[in-house]
């Protein structure tokens, strides 16, 4: 007697002719992956898992969240304090957003190191950069939704910067926030973008990204002007089938990542600050950590220049395989110049982020207090009272 699953499969196959599709998929999943594919190559699967959790927790939050300036904060309080396990769902969503950005960046770094963006995989890379922009868009729009002081004023500052662009700046800003200041229309717009538009774009781009990866396979370390290795050649060099060898690595990494996420959500629960007050700006407003480099840069250069750097940075990433690194070499050891340049850029971004975090705070190192000014420069705090300020 056939099992129910087999019976269901037979019933569907009879009507939809699924067997050829299953065979093609099975053959594709059993294709060998190049031997250099290691644990770093599981970051993409980890990202898919985290995005799935984010989608599910986001759906749950939507059940109780109310996207209006009058009710948003109260609904978040309800979710956190009254809805059973609401605090956990919210914490998962909050920590998930941070982990997604970290893993996306690490995934991108891995691709850069192994030259995975090179011919013929430029389209996959371009879609990947667009996915990064979508992920940052999620962070930007989701940040406002709790409608507390940090959310409100962080969004005011972030949406004010584009207004400095001549001619189109003020109009763009007004269109983005739905008026002349961050208010109820802004929340409505950000909510629609966050829960509908961006997920739609994300699913479309992710689908394309995965199809291309399965279709083209993982890149080898051979030069781009050489023939792509065949499955037999990869097997001959010791490459193992994706299923089950690499798939098991993927599952292990996903399991670990979800464990980290759940632990963070349990131990460091997401909190909410004071309700948004458009008449009072609290001290020390800063954006989320992944926007800190751009935020800090605005302090050193005029806004009209600083506000164009982030989109230019994304354009730079898009241009990587097309203009910047067009050499046929893929192996990291033969691309030292590009990797060194990428490392410098990464260090500059990291430095700006650290300065952004430290700026306008007082820190104590080995018993001595330092106040970090607007630009991030430290000044000794004398006797823990007066702060030395340098104009």
């Amino acid at each position: 007697m056939r099992s129910p699953v087999r019976q269901l499969w037979r019933w569907l196959d009879d009507r939809l002719n699924l067997e050829p599709l299953r065979n093609a998929l099975s053959e594709n999943l059993r294709k060998p992956v190049p031997i250099h594919v290691n644990w770093l190559f599981t970051l993409g699967s980890v990202l898919i898992a985290l995005l799935t959790v984010q989608l599910l927790t986001g759906l749950l939050l939507m059940v109780y969240y109310k996207p209006s300036a009058q009710e948003a904060y109260g609904s978040i309080e309800l979710i956190t304090n009254e809805v059973p396990m609401g605090w956990f769902v919210r914490s998962l969503h909050n920590w998930g957003s941070h982990l997604i950005v970290i893993i996306a960046l690490l995934h991108m770094v891995r691709v850069i190191i192994y030259g995975g963006y090179k011919r013929p995989r430029e389209v996959t890379w371009i879609i990947g950069v667009l996915l990064l922009a979508v992920i940052l868009g999620f962070g930007f729009t989701g940040y406002l939704l709790p409608w507390d002081q940090v959310a409100y004023w962080g969004t005011v500052v972030a949406t004010e910067a584009p207004a400095s662009i001549p001619v189109v700046g003020p109009l763009t800003q007004q269109f983005m926030i739905g008026g002349t200041e961050v208010a109820d229309p802004t929340l409505g717009r950000f909510y629609v973008v966050h829960v509908f538009l961006l997920p739609l774009v994300l699913l479309g781009l992710m689908g394309l990204h995965l199809i291309l990866i399965r279709y083209q396979g993982i890149s080898s370390l051979k030069r781009t002007d050489e023939e792509e290795p065949t499955a037999e050649e990869i097997s001959g060099e010791g490459g193992k089938p994706f299923v089950p060898y690499h798939a098991l690595k993927d599952l292990t990494s996903v399991y670990l990542a979800l464990g980290v996420l759940v632990t963070l959500a349990l131990v460091f629960q997401a909190h909410i600050g004071d309700p948004a007050d458009s008449l009072v700006t609290p001290v020390g407003i800063k954006p989320e950590w992944y926007f800190l480099p751009a935020y800090q840069l605005l302090k050193y250069v005029p806004e009209v220049v600083g506000v164009q750097v982030p989109p230019l940075f994304l354009l730079l990433l898009l241009a990587l395989p097309l203009v910047i690194d067009t050499s046929p070499e893929r192996h990291p050891r033969r691309r030292v110049g590009v990797l060194a340049g990428s490392l410098v850029v990464a260090l500059v971004v990291l430095m700006l982020g650290i300065l952004g975090h430290l700026s306008e705070t007082t820190q104590t190192f080995m018993g001595t207090s330092y106040h970090f000014d607007l630009l991030g420069w430290p000044h000794l705090v004398a006797d823990g009272t007066a702060t030395v300020e340098v104009m």
């Binding site: 004023w153 005011v156 500052v157 949406t159 004010e160 910067a161 007004q174 269109f175 926030i177 739905g178 008026g179 002349t180 200041e181 208010a183 229309p185 717009r189 007050d277 458009s278 008449l279 009072v280 700006t281 609290p282 001290v283 020390g284 407003i285 605005l298 302090k299 806004e303 306008e360 607007l374 104009m391």
Partner: protein, 145 residues
Amino acid sequence: MSRRLVNGLLGLGAVSALTGLMGTALAYLWPMAGGAAGSTRLVGREGPLLATALGDDEGLVARSSEGKILVVRKGDELIGLEATCTHLGCTVAWNAASQQVECPCHGARYNLRGEVLRGPARDPLGRIELSADEAGISVVRRLDS
């Protein structure tokens, strides 16, 4: 009717429909006019802002049809300034100790004439002429053209 003509008309119809849809969407999404307060009266968190709510050398931010206004009392005089920092849009506050208008976001400072004393702001705050009666404080006009 030729096939070319039919295709042309269908294409024109499709383009027209698409343009109509996009125009409708654009009109729908265009920011609506009107601020939080439609009157020249200043409204604080508790309601209409009365002159008696401010002691000497005190400042408060309230809303009016002119946007957010910082009101500072200096003796019998009520000084009005736009309360939105010209750097990145945070709300400024009056600091009686330093006798300066300060922005908590990035430390910009202004005097009571709205002039920038310290960056990163570069543009001054707009000055507002105010009047006060029993019903509260109102905006008379902007002093800068």
